[in-house]
């Protein structure tokens, strides 16, 4: 088992090393896409046109508004004094986001109750909306911390009441928005998937085209050894992709990464099982690299659309929602976003991990079975 696997891996390594353009083909498209996606997202988000309706007119409410202005990410285009004005601003596209502070906001705060802050987002541009909501969350958290510090000394003796601000997100046209700061994490999952499916399917089909697959299969090698030898390098490349995109996201685009790298590694590994399985499956249906290319194209688009990356799953017709359960990217996106932004661990993510494991095992088993047949 190990001699044959080692021979396979050695050969893959030699071929990769001899391929002068391999590094270029593997890394550059990935970098370009991350950067394009990253900038496309951040440019709009740096100046979100914002409308403000302050019905409380308290010191606390003014302080909150000034927090928004201070970040430079929000461009206050209208200070309204009636709700209808806000509606008009959003509908006309004048503002992409509105902050509504109801009367009694300060009072709620000092009473230690939950003070409602209504944030209205133009849901048509969900990317901007979600990222902006992410910023709103950060700003409000900061504001809250400062208010708490101020309130603390006043609460002498008695236990301190919690000071909290709740966000009411009400995207009007896109009610299914669920997550924040999804962009780079989403790109991470999507690009890795595309890269790994393409690499795996092309590599196997290329051996079929060259005739070397037949030459190998006439040896006593077991299909599983061939498949392992063929997929292990792409598994490692897939992990390298994840690290690369993560690094770019965190250090270049300032995406917060609050979770555990280990949880991320585990999640990525499980996700890659599915991606490798899909690539192999494509290779068993393809005689030529063109066929594999066409199949990948037909496969990757639905996977992308039904992943929740760009279009919320909750807003899909029921039948499509069911099909997303078979989509490894769907689970991985949840994992990536949650690990990046919420810092949750396996205890919270185990359903996603279990689903990715089951899907990966199923896809790999299916492709190994099909692989035997496809030699015929």
């Amino acid at each position: 088992m190990f001699e044959r696997l080692r021979a396979m891996l050695m050969k893959e390594f030699l071929e990769l090393r001899r391929d002068r353009w391999a590094i270029f083909r593997l890394v550059v498209p990935l970098l370009i896409q991350v950067i394009v996606y990253g900038y496309a997202a951040t440019f709009t988000v740096n100046r979100v046109s914002t409308a403000v309706l302050d019905l409380d007119r308290s010191q606390a409410s003014r302080s909150l508004v000034s927090h928004f202005v201070a970040t430079g990410r929000f461009d206050v285009v209208d200070v309204a004094d009636r709700q209808e004005q806000i509606t008009r601003d959003i509908d006309s596209g004048k503002a992409a986001l509105a902050i509504i502070i109801h009367a009694g906001f300060a009072q709620y705060l000092y009473d230690g109750k939950t003070a409602p802050l209504l944030v209205v987002v133009d849901g048509t541009n969900s990317n901007t909306a979600l990222i902006a909501l992410g910023y709103v969350g950060q700003i409000v958290a900061q504001f809250q911390a400062e208010e708490m510090a101020k309130a603390w000394p006043a609460q002498s003796g008695a236990a301190p009441a919690t000071v909290a601000v709740s966000l009411q997100e009400r995207p009007w046209f896109n009610p299914g928005l669920e997550d924040r700061w999804f962009f780079i994490p989403g790109v991470l999952g999507t690009l890795t998937l595309v890269q790994v499916i393409n690499l795996t399917s092309f590599a196997v089909v290329r051996e079929r085209e060259m005739g070397t697959l037949e030459q190998i299969m006439v040896s006593p090698i077991r299909p599983i050894e061939f498949i392992l030898g063929k997929t292990l390098p792409f598994f490692l490349i897939g992990l390298a992709d994840v690290v690369l995109v993560m690094g770019l996201g965190v250090w270049w685009f300032d995406v917060p990464f609050v979770g555990s790298p280990l949880v991320m590694l585990l999640g990525s590994s499980l996700f890659l099982l599915g991606a490798l399985g899909l690539g192999l499956l494509v290779s068993t249906f393809s005689r030529t690299q063109q066929q594999a290319f066409a199949l990948n194209f037909f496969l990757i688009n639905p996977i992308f659309i039904l992943s929740g990356f760009a279009f919320p799953i909750a807003a899909m017709p029921r039948v499509l929602q069911w099909t997303t359960f078979l989509n490894p990217l769907r689970y991985f996106l949840v994992v990536v976003r949650a690990v990046f932004l919420k810092g949750v661990g396996v205890a919270f993510l185990w359903p996603e991990f279990a689903a990715m494991t089951a899907l990966g095992a199923g896809l790999l088993a299916l492709s190994v079975l099909r692989f035997h047949k496809s030699l015929d």
């Binding site: 396979m8 050969k11 060259m210 005739g211 070397t212 037949e214 030459q215 006593p220 030699l375």
Partner: protein, 319 residues
């Protein structure tokens, strides 16, 4: 070529269907240990398909086969460990060097470490590749590539070799060298089934299996096949306009078959009387009759005739 060793290859009623199309049709074949058997037949006759079934690459639709004493259907792993195979299409890694290819195939055949280097040296010497060990395979000329592929196929010292048109597209000198290798291996007790399109190569085989449209048409030594009754007498017609003469003779009563061989015609006639009438017949058709002489059939004559007879029978049966 010991008489009572068990046969190296046995096929009984071996059949492969691709959908409604039957590529190999009830093939019976027995090859003794140490024999070199040539597999001859027109394009699409089913040679590669048969070989691939014998290697365990294709599952037979019907019939059975055993190779080196192992059943192809039930013990494919054991079969694979005991055979070497060169596919019709050249299939080594062009982006690896000769030595890297050898090491790779040695690895997947689990050639024991202590003998690996020695076997690689042997294969390189056999292929005449000394000094080119570290060249990329894609930069080698055809003959070297084929000898290297043979070297890769015998690294694990298989007792049975299947070579599918190993010499196609290789220049004559390299073809001759390749056949020297085949005979060296056979002298060492290796059983070899080799398919080819070249008639001169058929003469180098102990026995020849002629296959057409998936059926075994004839099997025997070159001598036996040449001695087969063709159903008439064979004449060679030289010094004629071959195309015109062929057209004329195909309409002449008593002529079973006429075929162009180079600048001459080979004409199979029912009896000597027909041969005598041939000159006048051609003259009447305004074709200058050349020199006619009786000849002994070559292997190619026999193959042409057998294949033609088979398809005539088929048409007769179908009508």
């Amino acid at each position: 070529m010991t008489g009572n060793a068990p046969p190296a290859v046995v096929a009984e009623g071996l059949t492969k269907r691709f959908g409604a199309f039957t590529a190999v049709d009830g093939l019976d074949l027995t090859i003794a240990t140490g024999e070199v058997v040539g597999f001859i037949g027109p394009n699409g006759a089913g040679k590669s398909t048969t070989i691939r079934m014998l290697c365990g690459l294709l599952r037979p639709s019907a019939g059975r086969a055993s190779v080196a004493g192992f059943d192809v259907g039930r013990q494919p792993e054991a079969v694979r460990a005991h055979i070497g195979y060169m596919s019709q299409k050249f299939s080594l890694y062009g982006d690896l060097t000769c030595r890297e290819n050898l090491r790779f195939f040695g690895g997947i055949y689990r050639v024991p470490r202590p003998v690996m280097e020695e076997r690689i040296r042997f294969a390189i010497a056999m292929a005449g590749l000394e000094g080119r060990e570290d060249r990329l395979v894609s930069t080698l000329a055809g003959g070297w590539k084929q000898r290297l592929a043979l070297g890769c196929a015998i690294l694990h010292r298989p007792p049975v070799l299947f070579l599918d048109e190993p010499t196609s597209g290789v220049e004559p000198e390299a073809r001759r060298r390749f056949w020297d290798l085949i005979h060296t291996l056979a002298a060492g007790g290796v059983t070899i089934l080799v398919s080819t399109h070249y008639m001169d190569e058929a003469e180098y085989c102990n026995r020849i299996a002629l296959i057409d449209a998936g059926r075994l048409v004839a099997m025997g030594s070159p001598g036996e096949l040449r001695g087969l009754d063709l159903g008439g007498a064979l004449f060679e017609l030289g010094g004629v306009a071959a195309g015109a003469a062929l057209a004329a003779l195909r309409e002449m009563p008593g002529v079973i078959e006429a075929a162009i061989f180079g600048d001459r015609l080979h004409v199979l006639v029912r009896d000597a009387a027909t041969a005598e009438r041939m000159g006048p017949f051609l003259k009447r058709r305004a074709v200058e009759p050349g020199a006619l002489r009786p000849i002994a059939p070559s292997l190619e004559d026999v193959f042409v005739r057998l294949v033609a007879r088979r398809s005539e029978e088929e048409e007769g049966g179908g009508a």
